[in-house]
Point group: C2
Chain length 376, copies 2
């Protein structure tokens, strides 16, 4: 029998929450950070190490996977889990964000969005129904409703038009999902409304009216800055049901995440730990390090003695050498260490919330990262 | 007490030999393939996986490491083993080959070779004594005497002049090594003489006269072709002592290696498994595969069901996707699978020699690889 998708809140600390999402492929402990596996791989990482780092769930990108190798092909090959040897939950985005950021010649109508593939220019038509179909073909455990990722900055009028379209698409997405999905899968709606509190409230209420097993907050981390992002969360999470998971899309730095957890967010994804890892930027319990810096050339200190990650036990001198020499192992080790730091950070946040000490935990991390803040 | 460097021959089968080199950092089962760790990393591989694949020893490049991060720096940081987290034996080359193939503005005198770094143009003076010093600073268990890698093709006169210089350098290398080396380390001489059988014989005899605990055959796999390489080995190994290991430098394909084992070679190194791995070329028990080929796009067969390598259990379809998408994981998985195939091939060769069935083993591999021969 398929395990139904459920969310159980275990403890709260202020507005911060910790709980467990139960899925057919296992539990997701929240607050959760989902490593991004854009093209059916978490970049520069063996999938076993993603699990060993503590990840309960990874994210796959609908846009990338539908273009290459193709959703129908992945379905034919047994689905995304089997394809990439990951048997825990996968969340897929709807493709909307990448259509805006990567595709060429976008044209949005009521029906959907037409664009040309960034790979070969081939024309693609993506509708709310097709986005659900693609995610079902991939076999995603948690799917996202197609939305229009509102550009930033934008006027109130633009935000309103975009939001209304996204809300109509959310309704169509749910209808499609009810027809196409397999037991145990879940579809989340996405709150939009740019940085306008009244529109965020309106969007949240509309989606709750449609009814989803989880709600995402979209259209943030697009250049509005941390303060505006936090303000927008303050204007949004109060209108989302307590008993459903909340997912802030595409966020972020350790401090972004802790600030969002403090505002009641349960799930996160971001390319930052892996992208930074490929460029020699490390996240550690002691703060952020740029391993390219000459100061590390003879530094025998382990990358992060406070991390349990095997990759973090290499000396900064060795990692500096690998990064300077352009060796792939540099990207592999720092990506692994970063992903595990993010997982350890979330584990720390979960424990602190359960103990009622989340504010102190977040303050401590904030102090450790204070010196690196300017580069966030 | 330091374990002395020794070689024990366990069995022979025709001219093929199997044995064990004992070093202070553990045993090397021969015939042995040494993965190449050019810049203190076997490219795209975690060092634990190099060991898990079955490697008893890896190679480091004196030329690369002396330029970046620098031999004195590595010594200061505790030596190459500790730097890269590899506690088994390391063999370093002398730097001569890379001086010829990579450095700019080479000028060779009796004293040594002056060149400009390919990284920043800095002038470097490398002598037989400095090459030993660098290898001692790195902490190499097996070191190579600096030689001039004779260009191919070359005239008899050029080969003679080059060979004589290399033999004088070999003598100086041994004298330097006796002064500078640590207990348990070993220095090998390198036979040169291009493709001229009389010069190879002469070179082997000269080196044996100087006396080394192991002998390398250099200056091959430089464009002379497999037949000329095998002919040259036929003209060389009879003049090398039975009770010392013999190392064919920079070779090669599975069939090159098996042909050289049949001619009495015990040790090999080559960038082929890792370089090919980064380009989607796989070596398997079924032959060579180019994973970029469209024929693998929906092929759910594991890369190599006959290999025990975890990386070889991924489907060809998945690896095809990763390689086409330019994902680092493609390079990581295929490099790992290739290195393990090479190790499994050597293990198969060792067992076959011990059983007196090496010719049949090599014939079987030759048949499996026949279709790929044209691309060797």
């Amino acid at each position: 029998m398929t395990v139904p998708f459920t969310f159980a809140l275990k403890a709260t600390d202020g507005r911060a929450r910790t709980g467990v999402i139960q899925t057919q492929r296992g539990e997701i402990r929240t607050p959760a950070f989902m490593p991004v596996g854009t093209q059916a791989t978490v970049k520069a990482m063996f999938i076993e190490d993603v699990a060993a780092a503590g990840a309960d769930i990874i994210l796959g990108n609908t846009y990338h996977l539908m273009l290459r190798p193709g959703a129908e092909r992945i379905a034919k090959l047994g689905g995304l889990h089997s394809f990439m040897h990951w048997d825990k939950p996968i969340l897929t985005d709807s493709g909307g964000y990448q259509v805006m950021s990567l595709a060429k010649l976008r044209k949005i109508t009521e029906e959907g969005v037409t664009f040309n593939s960034h790979l070969d220019g081939a024309p693609v038509f993506l509708t709310p129904e097709r986005a659900v179909e693609v995610q079902c073909l991939l076999g995603a455990d948690i799917q996202m409703a197609l939305d229009e990722c509102t550009p930033f900055p934008c006027s109130r009028e633009e935000a309103r038009v975009s939001l209304d379209l996204s809300m109509r698409w959310a309704e169509r997405s749910k209808a499609a999902f009810e027809t196409m999905s397999a037991p145990g899968q879940a579809l989340f709606g996405i709150v939009q409304g740019s940085v306008f509190p009244d529109m965020r409230e309106d969007s949240a209420k509309t989606l709750v009216g449609i009814g989803f097993p989880g709600y995402a907050v979209g259209g943030l981390a697009v250049g509005e800055g941390q303060e505006a992002m936090f303000d927008t969360l303050d204007a949004t999470t109060p209108y989302l049901p307590e008993d459903k998971p909340r997912y802030l899309m595409g966020v972020g730095t350790p401090l972004d995440i802790l600030g969002a957890v403090a505002r009641g967010i349960d799930m996160f994804d971001c390319v930052m730990p892996t992208r930074s890892g490929r460029h020699g930027q490390a996240f550690t319990w002691g703060g952020r390090l740029n391993l390219r810096n000459a100061q590390y050339a003879e530094d025998l200190t382990p990358l992060d003695a406070d991390s349990a990650c095997p990759a973090a036990q290499y000396s900064r001198a060795y990692l500096h050498h690998l990064v300077k020499a352009g060796e792939m192992l540099g990207a592999m080790l720092v990506s692994y260490a970063n992903i595990q730091f993010y997982q350890e950070l979330m584990a720390g946040a979960r424990a602190a919330i359960a103990n009622g000490t989340f504010a102190a935990f977040a303050d401590d991390i904030r102090r450790r990262y204070a010196r690196a803040d300017g580069t966030d």
